[in-house]
């Protein structure tokens, strides 16, 4: 085949392919998918694969949170994720004796029936070498005005050390709950058997409160089951200026909507350098982003995007290798004939007789249980070439009888030349269609092995995501956002390649054309 002929046949092929509607749709979708796969590091960030398995990177995210747009379909609106970085805050710093004091203020507009799940403080770094030098954080919150409430401002956190790289999850900090109960007490929501003497220092008052709470079974029960965030962001009056009973506030509170002014004070000795550049306050949502999160707080949308890379890489590399190897083996077998053909055919049948998935499982165990991408491709190719080889052989048997092959042989062409220059090119159209059609199978196999937990967990693939969902009991718990998107993505990529493959087949094999 000369270059001019090749160009000519590609041109002819394209003019026919252009008229295949489904094929063009498939091609357009494929271009979009490849674009997404290539753009994944730029849309998100380059270090996602390293971060994927470590829990720390996703700590500020809610676990198993549904997508934020679920709010449009339900009567109860749930708070989405909202992160305040230093740039969203007003920062003031001053020197107070031997201490440096930073005051950061920001306003969180709570417009939801169900408030955030948690408030997490992260990203504070300092060069403090001793634990007692670590910067101390205090938070006060000014709630939106509520009729009948005496004290609208409350202390949420008082002088709590936050070491470098540490995080404070306020909903799980005991002090926060005690302070909130103190604020409720101050407002007269509930009475204590013995009044707290107001002249005591704050620390003592809290200790006093704690003791009395623990002595009273009912109060202590409320204390134990209370969700601090629901108190902080909840109504404590009935809207007409009457305080609600404690029981109602704890169990049936509805969100108090409006602006919440947060003041974060960070105190450190003046010889300690405090770096606030990466300081963040995350309002951990009850819902999260475009597609929610999994049990580790990883956003499904990011996994889906990165999974495209693995799916296309695996799909294409496996399909191209299996088909090319299959065609080569088939053609060689047909051309050689005789005992060589017999042997290759028996070997093909032998490989076909091995059960695919059990052997894949067994081989991945041999590679050490958790196999890498290259090993996966190798295994899938090893068990994937036989079908193509059979078809290629039967096609090559027909080509072999053509006179031009005889002519080439008569001219003294060797086996290699005849197979590669005269027979394989004839089979290329078939091979191309077959490559496209075997991509979905390869992706399905990858997904299956990943679902069974046999591939390296550092690969971000849709099968891995479904594995995580299955381990999490996502189906039985009704976490649809963990189950549906990865499977749909697998189906979509497979469908794109089937569309292309069938169109190729129709162009190259006119017998199947629709009448």
């Amino acid at each position: 085949m000369r270059w001019v002929d090749f160009k000519d046949s590609v041109k002819r092929f394209w003019s026919e392919y252009k008229h295949q509607k489904s094929g063009m749709v498939g091609l357009a979708l494929l271009i979009i998918l490849v674009g997404l796969a290539l753009a994944a590091p730029y849309i998100t960030s380059h270090d996602i694969p390293e971060k994927w398995q470590t829990g720390q990177a996703w700590m500020t995210n809610p676990k198993n949170a549904p997508p934020s747009w679920e709010n449009y379909f339900t009567s109860v609106s749930k708070a989405p994720q909202k992160t305040f970085t230093v740039h969203d805050m007003q920062v003031k710093s001053e020197k107070n004796g031997s201490m440096k004091v930073y005051t950061l203020t920001f306003t969180y507009n709570m417009r939801y029936d169900v408030p955030p799940k948690d408030i997490v403080l992260t990203g504070l770094t300092s060069n403090a070498s001793r634990p007692q030098d670590a910067p101390k954080v205090s938070i006060t919150v000014q709630r939106p005005p509520e009729k009948g409430v005496k004290y609208g401002t409350l202390t949420l956190l008082s002088e709590t050390p936050l070491p470098t790289g540490g995080a404070l999850q306020l909903a799980y900090t005991p002090q926060v709950k005690t302070l909130l109960f103190y604020w409720l007490y101050e407002n007269g929501v509930y009475q204590l058997p013995m009044q707290i003497p107001p002249q005591l220092p704050m620390e003592m008052r809290l200790m006093y409160l704690n003791q009395q709470l623990q002595m009273n079974n009912t109060l202590y029960g409320y204390y134990q089951s209370a969700d601090p965030m629901r108190i902080l962001f909840g109504q404590i009056t009935d809207g007409k200026g009457h305080l609600l009973p404690l029981e109602k506030i704890i169990y049936e509170s509805s969100g108090l909507q409006g602006p919440y002014k947060f003041t974060v004070t960070i105190k450190a000795p003046s010889y300690v350098d405090v770096n606030l550049d990466k300081f963040e306050v995350a309002m951990v949502g009850r819902t999260y982003g475009l597609l929610g999160t999994d049990q580790m707080g990883r956003p499904i949308a990011i996994g889906l995007l990165w999974g495209t890379r693995v799916a296309i890489a695996i799909g294409l590399s496996v399909a191209v290798s299996t088909v090319l190897i299959g065609v080569l083996i088939g053609v060689t077998s047909a051309y050689l004939g005789g005992w060589a053909d017999e042997f290759i055919q028996r070997f093909t049948e032998f490989m076909m007789s091995l059960p695919v998935l059990p052997m894949l499982i067994l081989l991945s165990l041999y590679f050490g249980g958790r196999i890498s991408l290259t090993q996966l491709v190798f295994i899938l190719v090893l068990f994937g070439w036989m079908g193509t080889a059979k078809v290629a052989r039967s096609m090559a048997l027909q080509i072999k009888e053509q006179t031009y092959i005889e002519a080439a042989r008569a001219l003294g062409a060797g086996t290699g030349r005849i197979v590669f220059r005269h027979m394989v090119p004839q089979l290329l159209p078939y091979a191309f269609a077959n490559i496209a059609l075997s991509v979905p199978g390869a992706i399905l196999n990858e997904a299956g092995l990943s679902f069974l937990g046999l591939t390296n967990p550092n690969i971000i693939s849709w099968g891995q995501m479904l594995n995580a969902a299955h381990q999490n009991g996502a189906t039985l718990n009704g976490y649809w956002w963990q189950v549906i998107p990865p499977g749909l993505a697998i189906a979509l990529v497979g469908f794109v390649f089937v569309l292309i493959g069938v169109s190729l087949d129709t162009v190259l094999n006119p017998r199947l054309k629709r009448a």
């Binding site: 004939g337 005789g338 017999e342 028996r346 049948e349 032998f350 076909m352 007789s353 091995l354 059960p355 998935l357 059990p358 052997m359 499982i361 067994l362 165990l365 041999y366 979905p440 992706i443 399905l444 997904a447 299956g448 679902f451 069974l452 479904l466 969902a469 299955h470 996502a474 189906t475 039985l476 718990n477 009704g478 649809w480 189950v483 549906i484 990865p486 499977g487 697998i490 189906a491 990529v493 497979g494 469908f495 390649f497 089937v498 569309l499 069938v502 017998r511 199947l512 629709r514 009448a515």
Partner: protein, 346 residues
């Protein structure tokens, strides 16, 4: 040189047996290695237990020689004193002639590999073979219908359905079904799929409903599409044109002439489908908590029940080879030209 049918069958069967034997040889070479690790730990724990028992009855620890003697005896019992190739060979022969023995851990409530497989096979037939029959009937009916008027609405629907479902993971669709029909619509109790065992026929039928629906939904489109393509190929043959020209009614042309002429590939598909259904599906059975062949393999893998895994692999390979041979023989019977081809060796 034409071959007699008997000779052709014999040739195919011998061929199949040799391929199967080689497959078992390869698998047992792999499994013997796994088994060695497992049996060595088994011997270690048995020796430890024996030492403990001996110490209790004799009020003194056994001497080193005694321990070594006991260990050697156990090693001999598990044939660990034999070289690797010899054990592989013995394992191959045992497996090949259905002497599957006992698995060390309990799988599906028993040590006996044959009993485990009997239980699992019954359940797999109940689920997968039932589904396969539905798929075949639906596939042939729809495929023939859409081949009659290529390009019709039905034909296009089936083509698209086939394309969509070939790229759909069956087990994922299963997860989706549970999500929709069990969790959101609450049509079936959640306990059916959260646990493996169910009792009573009505519960078993209820548990079957979703997986059968899933399997049929994923597979019948592809089936119908294949039948359609085979039928369209046949309908373009000259003898159909002749039949039409003779004035044979269209119904008879399709069901009498075309379907009959297309029967060899369709029968092959039926055989492959029916026999293939006996292997179950590992992931789908995990998703639906269905204790069939696939789940047995998975549980055996988790429990390291090497003998169970080996026996299952053998059955899977056996079924594949068996259907290949059967299809070849049927092809040879229905289409005598094939026999000539098989014998014609240059």
């Amino acid at each position: 040189m034409a071959m007699g049918f008997g000779k052709y069958v014999l040739y195919r069967v011998v061929n199949g047996v040799i391929i199967l034997f080689l497959a078992v040889l390869l698998m047992s070479a792999l499994f013997t290695k796994l088994a060695t690790i497992q049996l060595t730990t088994q011997v270690d724990s048995e020796v430890q237990q024996w030492v403990r028992g001996y110490t209790q009855t004799h009020h003194q620890a056994p001497s080193k020689e005694l321990i070594e003697q006991y260990r050697a005896q156990r090693m001999h019992y598990y044939a660990l004193d034999q070289p690797y190739w010899k054990r592989t060979w013995m394992y191959t022969i045992d497996t090949f002639f259905f002497k599957w023995g006992k698995s060390i851990p309990t799988v599906f409530g028993t040590h006996d590999v044959k009993d485990q497989i009997k239980t699992a096979l019954g359940r797999t037939i109940l689920l997968f073979t039932t589904s396969e029959i539905i798929i075949i009937l639906l596939g042939i009916a729809l495929g023939v219908k859409s081949a009659q008027i290529p390009g019709s609405l039905l034909d296009r629907t089936i083509s698209i359905l086939a394309m969509v479902t070939t790229s759909l993971p069956m087990w994922w669709l299963g997860m989706l079904m549970i999500l929709v029909f069990v969790v959101y619509l609450d049509w079936l109790p959640i306990t059916l799929y959260s646990q493996t065992a169910v009792s009573g026929w009505s519960n078993i039928l209820k548990k079957m409903s979703l997986p059968v629906f899933t399997i049929v939904l994923v597979s019948f489109g592809g089936w119908a599409w294949n039948i359609r393509n085979i039928m369209i190929g046949t309908m373009q043959e000259d003898f159909i044109m002749v039949a039409r020209a003779k004035g044979v009614p269209e119904r008879k042309v399709i069901y009498g002439h075309a379907l009959k002429a297309s029967s060899p590939p369709i029968i092959t598909m039926v055989i492959f489908g029916m026999i293939g259904s006996l292997s179950g599906a590992i992931i789908t059975e995990i998703v639906f908590n269905w204790p069939g062949m696939g789940r047995l393999y998975w549980e055996a893998l988790q429990l390291n029940a090497v003998r169970t895994m080996m026996a299952l692999n053998y059955i899977f390979a056996f079924l594949t080879v068996f259907s290949m041979v059967l299809a070849d023989i049927l092809y040879g019977y229905l289409d005598p030209r094939v026999r000539v081809g098989a014998a014609a060796r240059s």
